[in-house]
Structures are given as C-alpha cells and as structure tokens.
Subunit: 157 residues, 6 copies
C-alpha cells in the first residue's frame, strides 16, 4: 500500500487545499492530512478545530485520515511509517521555500521523498492568510473555502 | 473620462511612487492616489500626514486627487465608480505578490482591471521601508524621496 | 479619447489573447490589435490570415481595430498617435522578457507607456506555440483557441 | 499497484536523471522511463541508443521498464493505463516550463497527475545539453553521467 | 593589497557561511568577516558570542579578521578603507533582496562594489534560521554548522 | 597581484559591458576581457573585430588586456593562471543560467571562483542581441553602445 502525508497549517482549509487532497487521494492508496502545530503563530482556529474542519470538508473522500502533529515533520513521517510527503505548489515563490524545506528534510532523512503537486490554476492566488484578510475586511469568500469553513469563520467574529 | 486608482501605503511617498503617479496621470484623464489604512502596521506617518505629503510632493500634477481608505480596496474602487487599479512593478518578487492580489481582486469583482506599470529602472531598488531603514541608520536619502519628505522625516526623530 | 495598442505575433490568436483584448476594450476607448511581422520566424499563418482570424474571433467587440506592422513597435505606435502599449502577462518568465522590452521601448520613446494586464488564470499555461505543438501531435485544442481558428488550423494540414 | 511514467529526452541520461529514477522506483511500485521522440531536434543518440543507455545505466533497479514514444505524452500515458507522470525539478526556470506543460496535460486529461521530484542538489546544474557542450569542448564529464554513457559518447566522435 | 568585507548576521555561523569565507579568503588578500548588530531582532547569540563562534570555526583561515558593526554597512566599509563587499547567494529569492541592497549601497557610495559568490550547492538549502528551527524541534544539525556551534547551541537550552 | 577574467560574446560590446569592465578594473589589479568563440552562432562581428571594438571602447582603462579564446573557459582560465571569473548580472533570468554555468565550472575546477557583479540599473534591459534587433529595425542605439560600435555597425549594413 502506497501512503502519503500532506502536512500544512490549514488555518483554515481552502478549496485549493481540498483540490490537492482530492488529487493526492486518487494518486495514493491512503493520504494522511496532518495539521502542524506552530507555537509562534496566532491562529484563527486551534488545532482541534482545524482537524475538525478538514474532516467535515473532505467527508466524501474515503481513503484519507486527518491528524495533527508537533515537532519535526520528518519525525512524524517516520513514526507513521510513510515515506512520501505531498506539497502543493501555486507559484514560483512557493517553490523556492518548499524546495528549501524539502532539501532540509532530505538531509534529515534521505528515505523520505517530497512530491510536489500543482494546485488547480483557478486557485493559484488562494492562501489561508489572504482568505482571512479578505474576510476581516468584509469581503465575500464564497468559492474560496468550503461552506462549513465560512460558517465557522462567521462564528469567530 | 478614463479614471484610475493608484493605491499604496506611501509611508512615505518615494520618488519611485512619484514616477508612477506622473506616468499614470499622462495615461489616464484622472488618477486617484489613495493611501491604505493598515491597522496592523506601525507607520512612521499617520494617514493624514501621508495624504498631505503626497499632495505637496505632487503639487504640479493637475489631474490627480489624493485620498485615503480603509477596508477592501475593491469596495473603495466600486464606490469611486472607477474600474482601473494601477500598481507599480519593480522586480520579480513584486510581481508574484501583486499578481496574487490582482487575481483575488478580479475574483471579488471582475469588472475592475489591475494594470501594472514599470517603475523607472533607476528606482528599481527603492522602497519606503528601505528608505526608512537607511534614514534611521544615518544615511543620506537625498534623491530617493521628495525634498518635503526628507524635511518631515527629520522632524520625526 | 484614450487608445491603446495591443501588439503580438498571434500565430494564431488564442483564448488567452481574446481575454486580454476583451479586457483592454473595456478599459480603453479604442484598442488597436496589431500583428507583428517577424521575418525570422516561419509562421503557421501569414500576416493577412492572422489579421483575418483576429477579426473573426473578436467580431463582437466593437471598439477594436485589427492591423499589422513591420519595423519597430515604437515607430508604429508613434505613427498611430497612441501612447499606450498593452501586454498580457501569464507568469514570471513572461514578466522578465516583457520588462526588458518595455524598458527598451521607454528608452526609445519616453512618451509611450507599457501597461501590463493579467491573463485569466485559467489560461495561464496557454501559448500559441504550445497550441500548435499539441495540435500537430493530434491533441484536442478545443477551448484553447476560438472555433474559427480550429477550423483554419485543420485546413493547414 | 501504483505505477508512474518518467518521460524525457535523455540525450543522454545523466546522473541527475538516474537519481530521479532511483527515487521514483522507491516511491512507486513500477516506473516506466520513456524516451520521447522529438522530430525537430538533432540528437546525439537515436531513440534506440537512448533506451539502451538507460537500460544499462539503471540495470540494478528492478521495478522499472524502459520504453520510448512519439506523439502526445498524455496519449501514451493513457495507453499504458498509468495516471502519474514524474518530472524532476532543478531550479526556478525548470519549474515554470514544467508547470505550463503539466497544466496543459491536465487540461487534455484531468485524470493524469504530474508529480514533481527534486533532483539531488549536487546535480542542480546538470543537464544533458550542458554535458554535451562540455564534452565537445574537451572537458571531463566524469561524475556527471554514468560510465557507460562516457564510453558511448567517445565512440560518437 | 585587495581586501573584502563579508557582512552578515551569523546567528549562528553555518557551514554555508564558512564555505563562502574560505572561498573569499582565497580570492582576496584579506577578508573582514563582520557581524551586523540588528536592534530589532532577538538573536540566539549576542554580538560577542557570534564573533567568537566565527573566530573558533574559522581558526585555520589565516588572512581573515572577525569584527562587528552597527549602523550603515556602507559607513563601516568606508571606515575600514575597503571597497569590496562579499555576499553569498543560494537561490533566486536571495538574489532579489541582495540585488536591492547592493543597488542601494551603490547609490550611497558608488566607490564600493558588491561581489556575489555562490554557496556550494550542497548548502543551497541552509540558513541560520532554518538551523535554529530544526534544532529547537529536536532535529540533528550535524553537518550543517561547525561542531563548536552545536556545542554552544546545546548550552543555550 | 589579483587578476580576473571577464568572458563574453561581446557581439558587440555594450555600455552595460563597459560598465562592468570599469568596475572590475577598479576591484582587481588586472582584468582580462576575453571574447569567446562560439562556432554555432552567426555573429555580426568576427572575433578580431570584437576584440578591436573592446580595445577602442575601453582605451582609457589601463589595467585591462583584451583577448579571445575557444574551447572550455575553465581551460583558458587555467592557462592564464587566473582564478577569478567575473560575470555581470542584470536580472533573475541571467542569474539562473549563470549560476548553472558557474556550478559546472566549479565542478570542472574547484580552484576557480566565479564572482558576480551587478550591471548599473540603467542598463538592466540592455543586451547585445536586443541592440542588434533595434538597430536592424532602424531604431536609435545612441547611449546603448559606445560611439565606435555605432560607427562600425553602420558599415555592416
């Protein structure tokens, strides 16, 4: 069985993330979507909420598991006995940062491979932080995030 | 009449901004230069000061109006009944960020078009934040910002 | 009246070009779409055919004129008494080349301004040469170029 | 069983290609390395020779098949009943071109996914064409291509 | 005698920095490695510690001097009567930022030249901040920084 | 004595090249400007003419030598007993190509260092090929290349 791990902040999950999850789930037998705990950031949703939002948004995709982790991604991946990390790419700036992280992860554990998937081009401008910024300024985020996320974001205000 | 809106932080206006304003004013019948209110940033000049500095620096350009706004740019643009946003580009890194914002704005309102203009290459290295950094460290900012801005920056210390 | 010139090879016109033409025609009072004559290239369609294809594909856009030119773009623009050039941008690689050309054109005539417009993100991967390559290898180009272009490309084989 | 196709010109196979093949073979159950026939290029090795060189260079990797194809990659992939294409990335310039091709392939067949893998950073400067250029100018290509390739390149002169 | 100044935060010095110091020391008669004081950042090591770590890591390189400075780099360089600044480049994102700084420095003093050197490709993913992040999460930083740095980082916890 | 080699096609030398030569001559004790022989290209000026044009354009710079070479640059550099190669950078696209070449040269001979210098930003759009293209289409190249080059280009037609 070929498994892959798709890590991210997912604060909150966007339709771009969901697109990658769907594509990854068709490419691998099992995909573990995992929310990273970043103690320095001040998130809109806490870890449990983010996990819950992903579960509800991706409820129709059967071969996924939603989880969270703290510490080094590469340690988490080893514990899960998976050797593939999935990252979505939207643009050149993504690419450089992700490349750097992937090379560092390869240095830390050469048995784990990072595979990059392209986000659907209609979501190329989409990021969780931009969604939050638009939302806070009163703009519509319809079509950018799953319906359930809009509902929960409204509760946060 | 063809109008355009040129938004920015302008904290403070640089000679690169002034170059774009001048070029935009020759390309459109009217240009609204508008200062964005960003509650997260800690600016050197407040909104009113920034508006005033632009007015004084661009006093010889007749077909411009200087204004400020808070909230979503795309809402401001709609209220002004303008459908063109002008952004200056200096380098590749600018381009990616501005592209992302422009695509988001297009998603929010497809009737508004973002047009990119090139900054004069002699100002390709110039940004408000770099000007402030050089100034704070005691370097000369002659030629980088309008004379009136240098005078007002000296008062701030 | 604010006019703009949108130059290109258009061999053949794609739906990405058509998207830019449509947006430019809403932004300016008149848009001159002009096909450049490049003696070094071996085009699929000759100059007259390319002009004709643009006319037929954009038949519903009223405020455009379709033309062609040889020699320096900047001389053509001056003869037409227009001072705005429109270029579409898809990605970073476009940007660098177009920036270089625009700076050279500014050096040749500082009264002419190049404005960059973003192609719709759904066409971000689209180019005339890629369309021709796919077509020659037997792939479907439905949705990538106007219907009339598909018809004429089939005649070329 | 999860299979992937790794297409390329491989004129000739380099140690960078071999690194990607090895990593792909660990990530998927089966990898089909396939040499593309490009009628426009004037290759150093013909299709059969390139296939043979890959077979000999990768003789120790068991779960691969070496093949060649002409026509559209996406048609070849469908015939093979595989839905994953592997591409190696070295640098930003690679990324833009490969992104464009992958988006076009997704447009042609949305069931096929392109996954990008990073070349080992020690091969980040390596390309078949650069190897050939160095070789023709009398430079050493030891360590850049498999031994068997050096031997066959010497016979070509 | 041809001298050069290699400035940086060096919080802490990495093997990538050390590689540049070694190469610079072979290219120039004397190299001044200088640690910049940045009042806004919250460093892991203070100025004196960073100077000390560089001295100990580079103890075998004879023609270097290790120093620190506050204020404008260009003023420091003038005081030292040196007219060459060395900067290491790893990737495209480095390049844009460093280019901007170098152009600003040229504007401030046209007699000082910035020369860019390439970091060894095996360190292309390496940065002080990434090293600190990996270390804090419990990962191994063996091979990324000099031994003496690992020892001192362990004391900091 | 610290010497450096500045290689290029110089077909013809531009004011951007001359700017780099001048800066390099102030940074090193001696600079060898060397014209590369490329058998595949069809140059406007032959090797001897290009050498002659550089000599005349840079006649006031005392510590330079103008030369030409064929074969591998790295072999030429070794024969000259120099261990520094100078390359000018204008933009991101330059950077990637030059980086690749510099890494290959480092692989071929690790004792030779490539140093990158920034072209003056007013020449950031300038290349020999763009100059030739503008000239052939009848545009003015005043200010882009040395006077002597304009004179010789006019004779070529």
């Amino acid at each position: 069985m070929r498994s892959a791990i798709y890590p991210g902040s997912f604060d909150p999950i966007t339709n771009g993330h969901l697109d990658i999850i769907r594509r990854a789930a068709e490419t691998f037998d099992k995909v573990i979507v995992t929310v990273s705990h970043n103690p320095n950031k001040n998130p809109m949703f806490d870890l449990e909420e983010r996990v819950e939002l992903i579960k509800r948004a991706a409820v129709d995709i059967e071969n996924i598991e939603v989880d969270c982790f703290s510490g080094l991604l590469i340690d988490y991946v080893k514990n899960k006995e998976v050797n593939v990390i999935i990252k979505g790419l939207r643009a050149v700036s993504d690419f450089e940062y992700e490349f750097q992280m992937a090379l560092m992860n390869r240095k830390l554990n050469d048995n784990v491979e990072t595979l990059f998937m392209m986000t659907n081009s209609q979501y190329s401008y989409l990021s969780s932080s931009l969604v939050k910024e638009v939302f806070k300024l009163g703009g519509s985020i319809e079509g950018l995030v799953p319906e359930i996320v809009i509902k929960e974001m409204k509760k946060k205000i």
